[in-house]
Symmetry: C2
Subunit: 141 residues, 2 copies
DNA sequence: TTTTTACGGAAAATAATTATTGAATAGTTT
DNA sequence: AAACTATTCAATAATTATTTTCCGTAAAAA
C-alpha cells in the first residue's frame, strides 16, 4: 500500500512528501468521497500548515498517476475517490452523502451506447440522485 | 411551441420578456448543448443589451418550470438542453462537442440501481466520453 | 555532504455563478 | 388616461471553487 504510492510517485518523477502520503492515506481509508475542503479540514489537525492549494495540487498528481478518480456529482465542487474501478455513484439530495454503487454490470449498457453512437467510448460517469434509506425514514416521522 | 412557453411562464408567475423567449428559442433550435457563454455570444448581436446574468437567471427560471435541463458534463461550466427526456450524453474528447444518445433504454438499468442501493432514485446523469466518428477519421490521416 | 530540483504554502489571481440594486416597464385600479 | 404597485432588466458587486505565483525549504541525486 504505502510502498505502492511511494514507488508510483517516484517512478513518475514526483517527490514523496508527508503531505502527499497523508492526503492519499486519508482518502484511501474513507468511504465518504470527500471534496477538497473536507480533505483539508480533516488533515488540518494533524498537519497544521496544510493548505487548500496543496490538496488541489496533490489531487491533480494522484489523478495523473491513476491513484484517484475525480467525481462530478452535480454539485458545486468535485469529490475524490481512491477506488479506481469505474462504478456509479448515488448522491442523497437530503443529506448530501455520496455512496458507491457496487455489484452492477455496466458493460452491456456501455456497448449499446458505443454501437448506437459510433463513438469510440473511452470512459463514462454515472450519477444517480435520490433519497437514501435513512432519509426516507426521517421523512416519514 | 411559442404558446407553450408563454403560458408556462405566465402560469408560474413569471413575466414573458423578449429575452426569455429569445433564449428559449435559441436553445430549442440547436443541438449543440451550449453553455451560458455560448448562448450569450449567440444572442448578443440580436439583443445588444443582453447580459450573461440575464442568461443565467433565465436558465434558472426555465429549469424551474421544466423547460430545460442542466447538463453537468464534467467541464468547468454547465450546458443546457431544451430536450427534457432524460437521455445520456457523449462528449468527444478531441473536438469537445456534446451529443445526445437517443434510442437507448435506461429504465432497466435504473431499476437495478434502485433495488441494489435501496435509494429512492429521483434522477440520474449518464455521461460518456470518447472520440466521435469524425475525429476518429481525422486521427487516421 | 553538496548540489539540484521539485515542493509546500500564503496570498493573489481567475472564472463561473449568484445576489443586489436602481431604473424601467407592465399590470391594475381609479 | 393617470396613479399606484409589483415585477423585471441588466449592470455592478459579491461569492465561491479552483489555479497560479513566488520563494524559502525539503527531498533526491551525485
Amino acid at each position: 500500500m504505502e510502498i505502492c504510492i511511494t514507488s508510483l510517485l517516484r517512478d513518475k518523477g514526483f517527490k514523496v512528501t508527508p503531505q502527499r502520503l497523508a492526503i492519499y492515506n486519508m482518502l484511501a481509508s474513507t468511504r465518504s468521497h470527500p471534496n477538497a475542503e473536507m480533505i483539508f479540514n480533516e488533515l488540518q489537525a494533524m498537519y497544521p500548515t496544510m493548505s487548500l492549494a496543496t490538496v488541489y495540487k496533490t489531487m491533480e498528481i494522484l489523478r495523473e498517476i491513476g491513484l484517484v478518480q475525480v467525481l462530478n456529482a452535480g454539485e458545486d465542487s468535485f469529490r475524490y475517490d481512491a477506488v479506481m474501478t469505474n462504478h456509479p455513484h448515488v448522491r442523497c439530495t437530503e443529506c448530501g452523502q455520496v455512496e458507491d454503487v457496487h455489484d452492477i454490470n455496466i458493460d452491456a449498457f456501455v456497448d449499446e451506447v458505443s454501437q448506437g453512437t459510433k463513438y469510440q467510448i473511452m470512459g463514462q460517469q454515472f450519477y444517480f440522485h435520490g433519497v437514501c434509506p435513512t432519509c426516507q425514514h426521517k421523512k416519514i416521522n
